[in-house]
């Protein structure tokens, strides 16, 4: 196997292409975390008293919580006192896109985000979050015609306090877990979406998150509410500059689906994964949860996870409404020294609820990739059904794939199926491609795209193309 090793070592990894840093004038909060930090953020955002109280309560709770260590991850402890919790571009309150800091615009241009209205013919409405602040939300007026609210969460706090007050923390309670509690205390900004009754959102809604400032954490928060019989497809993308130190990203996403409503939430996560030696990279500790409150509602999570040094993420569904449906489609790639512990929770509490889990792990280099999933069927959840498919693909023999499925079935009428496979892209397969004139990188890309097809097919078309490229890029230099 020394041949493999040589090969692995000889080919250098593809450099992270999104690793540039922008020179933007920013207001950054003093480093460290205390009650004052929380007050500072709240004041910066001119928040109402109730929200400050909510944050402070969360901060008190967080202080009493221990950092979790049950996940299959090994990373240096986070020093919460060495991070700045808030950074915002100096000039703000934009009346039109023309007022946007040209540097910020250049940043988003580099990321290929269509900020300008004319580019939005592509039919994607974008909210862009740079470090802590939502910079601009496009296509707002068109959406408003249908009564759709798509804005930054800070704006929603002022413009639609009744909705925010009602639903903020309703799906992920303040004390849910260590990182979500921290987020409640110091969350900076994020997106807010409300789709009124009976409205089918006419375009993809999208948010791009980017961490730019040094020594900052990003704590964004997204809240999406789909009222009765509405539909929305939402996509988030994430990148960060290349840095030697680790940066913390602890987001919370809450989804609420009412009767017959459907939310499709897709993520293409490409935070800086650290370099080839495992230096730097984002710690991605994210809590994402959707509540199918109404009967016949549906929430579908699709994620393509290629970035971050450490990922800790379990997009989940609470299937409360009868006949509600939860789905989780995931491709998680780890290369070099990346570690991912990701999966989902499907909590069946309503009758005749259904869930489907399709998880495709891809490990390369010296990385570790774990799937962790819980399917719980409560006593009263008559006729619940779940199907789980957890596949692992290994490139080379120095990486690891692990599957931790948990089942808690309290109702005998439940029908739960689980399938798991592990396969390896070995020398034999690669040689077959090469003998036909196809180089190793292309071979891996073809195999991986085929393997991940079921998940990629869930993405909106234009993002599926992007995600495929991303998969190939993140695995370059990993074959052996």
């Amino acid at each position: 196997m020394s041949k493999d090793q040589e090969l692995l070592d000889s080919i250098t990894s593809q450099e992270y292409q999104w690793g540039f840093e922008s020179n933007i004038d920013q207001d950054i909060a003093a480093i460290g975390l205390s009650e004052d930090t929380v007050r500072f953020i709240s004041k910066k955002k001119n928040e109402p008293e109730w929200l400050l109280e909510w944050r402070l309560k969360a901060f008190e709770i967080w202080k009493t919580m221990p950092e979790p260590h049950w996940q299959n991850l090994d990373y240096a402890p986070v020093d919460f006192q060495s991070i700045s919790y808030y950074a915002e571009p100096k000039k703000k309150t934009l009346n039109s896109l023309d007022e946007l800091d040209p540097e910020i615009k250049a940043t988003y241009d580099k990321l290929g985000i269509p900020l300008e209205e004319q580019k939005l013919l592509a039919g994607v409405a974008v909210d862009a979050v740079l470090d802590s602040v939502s910079v601009v939300t496009t296509y707002k007026e068109r959406l408003a015609q249908d009564g759709i609210i798509f804005c930054s969460l800070s704006e929603a706090v002022h413009e639609h306090p009744e909705l925010v007050k009602k639903y903020l923390g309703s799906v992920v309670p303040v004390a849910d877990n260590y990182f979500s509690a921290l987020n409640c205390a110091v969350f900076s900004d994020g997106s807010f979406v409300y789709i009124p009754k009976g409205v089918r959102c006419p375009m993809e809604l999208s948010t791009y998150f980017r961490i730019n400032a040094k020594n900052t954490g990003q704590f964004e928060r997204t809240l999406i509410i789909a009222d009765d019989r509405s539909y929305v497809s939402y996509l988030e993308g994430c990148t960060a500059p290349q840095r030697d130190e680790n940066q913390l990203h602890a987001a919370v996403v809450e989804l609420v689906a009412m009767e017959h409503a459907e939310i499709k939430y897709s993520t293409v996560q490409n935070w800086f994964p650290g370099d080839k030696e495992g230096k730097g990279g984002i710690y991605n500790f994210v809590t994402k949860r959707g509540a199918c409150l109404g009967n016949h509602s549906k929430i579908s999570w699709t994620q393509v996870e290629t970035g971050s040094a450490v990922t800790w993420k379990y997009p989940s569904c609470i299937l409360k409404g009868d006949y509600s449906v939860g789905e989780f489609y995931s491709v998680a790639v780890t290369n070099n020294f990346q570690q991912a512990d990701t999966g989902t929770k499907m909590i069946h509490t309503g009758k005749h609820t259904r869930s489907r889990i399709v998880s495709k792990g891809i490990s390369a280099g010296k990385s570790q990739n774990s799937y962790r999933g819980l399917v719980r069927v409560n006593k009263r959840a008559e006729g619940a059904r779940n199907f789980s498919q957890c596949d692992s693909l290994l490139l080379g023999d120095r990486c690891g794939a692990h599957t931790f499925p948990y089942f808690e079935i309290q109702n005998n009428s439940a029908n739960v199926e689980h399938e798991a496979t592990t396969s390896k892209i070995g020398e034999d397969i690669l040689f077959y491609f090469r003998q036909r004139g196809i180089g190793e990188e292309d071979a891996v890309a073809m195999i991986v795209n085929g393997y991940a097809k079921e998940v990629l097919d869930q993405l909106p078309m234009e993002f599926a193309v992007e995600a495929k490229k991303l998969l190939a890029i993140s695995l370059e230099g990993s074959v052996g």
């Binding site: 041949k3 396969s423 020398e427 034999d428 397969i429 040689f431 077959y432 491609f433 090469r434 003998q435 036909r436 004139g437 196809i438 180089g439 190793e440 292309d442 073809m446 195999i447 795209n449 085929g450 393997y451 097809k453």
Partner: protein, 252 residues
């Protein structure tokens, strides 16, 4: 077209090829026969560039290029094709996508544009028909769940698509029923011309009834010990390898 000079190769320190000399010219068909384990597949793997095998001595020239210095994919793009004795299954990658990528790589190497989708489909249909594979196989994953015979037909289909200069067929006849054998052999004959060459590895005369060799070699214990015309194959069919082994035992 191909010159192999005093080729020695080993795997995990064990010498397998012990001084192969072989010259193949354009427009000819060579057959290699020989007992199990004599090194036939090893020879084809070394020519194709499998990295497990270490070449300890000798040279391989292919159309004036020292291919021992080339990566396997570069050799393939130069026009070297190996129909595998045991074609591998590739789940999740369709035959159509696979061969499209391969054809485009070869075309790119020749400085040609990629074929248009319609031209490509036409070509695929034509070549699939040539080896008796139905259209629906193009959508299926490469070799996944294929019968032994279908896998071998698929190898020849790929050969037909890529139109290589030198094709090495490693026991393409094994596992084929009589009809399939004829189809595959006719396919090869249809592809044969004055510009290309074939190296056919087989244990059986019956393939050579269809693909008539210009030269027949016997490989024994890592060396080519006999070379003759097609009658040599007939003699082997008739008498087996005992006489060859007897004659060359001392050298081994």
């Amino acid at each position: 077209m191909l010159q192999i000079k005093n080729l020695h190769a080993q795997i995990e320190g064990k010498p397998i090829l012990k001084g192969i000399n072989l010259e193949i010219n354009a427009g000819t068909v060579h057959a290699i026969m020989g007992p199990n384990g004599s090194g036939k597949s090893t020879l084809s793997s070394v020519i194709a560039g499998r990295e497990e095998y270490e070449v300890t001595e000798g040279e391989i020239w292919f159309n004036g290029v020292n291919i021992l210095e080339l990566e396997p994919e570069e050799r393939a793009r130069e026009g070297l094709f190996l129909a595998f004795q045991y074609p591998i299954e590739i789940p999740g990658v369709s035959n159509a996508n696979f061969i499209k990528m391969a054809v485009n790589e070869v075309r790119k190497h020749k400085g040609l544009e990629s074929l248009s989708a319609t031209d490509f489909l036409k070509l695929m249909r034509e070549k699939a028909a040539l080896v008796g594979l139905k259209d629906d196989f193009l959508k299926r994953s490469v070799n996944a769940g294929f019968s032994g015979g279908e896998k071998k037909r698929n190898e020849i289909f790929q050969l037909a698509m890529l139109d290589p200069k030198l094709s090495i067929l490693d026991e393409t006849d094994s596992g084929l029923d009589i009809d399939a054998l004829r189809t595959v052999a006719e396919g090869v004959n249809a592809l044969k011309n004055s510009e290309n060459a074939f190296l056919v590895i087989t244990h059986y005369q019956r393939l050579l009834d269809y693909i008539v060799p210009d030269v027949v070699h016997v490989l024994y214990d890592g060396r080519i010990v006999e070379t003759g015309d097609k009658d040599l194959a007939l003699k082997l069919e008739d008498q087996g390898y005992d006489w060859v082994i007897e004659k060359h035992k001392q050298e081994a």
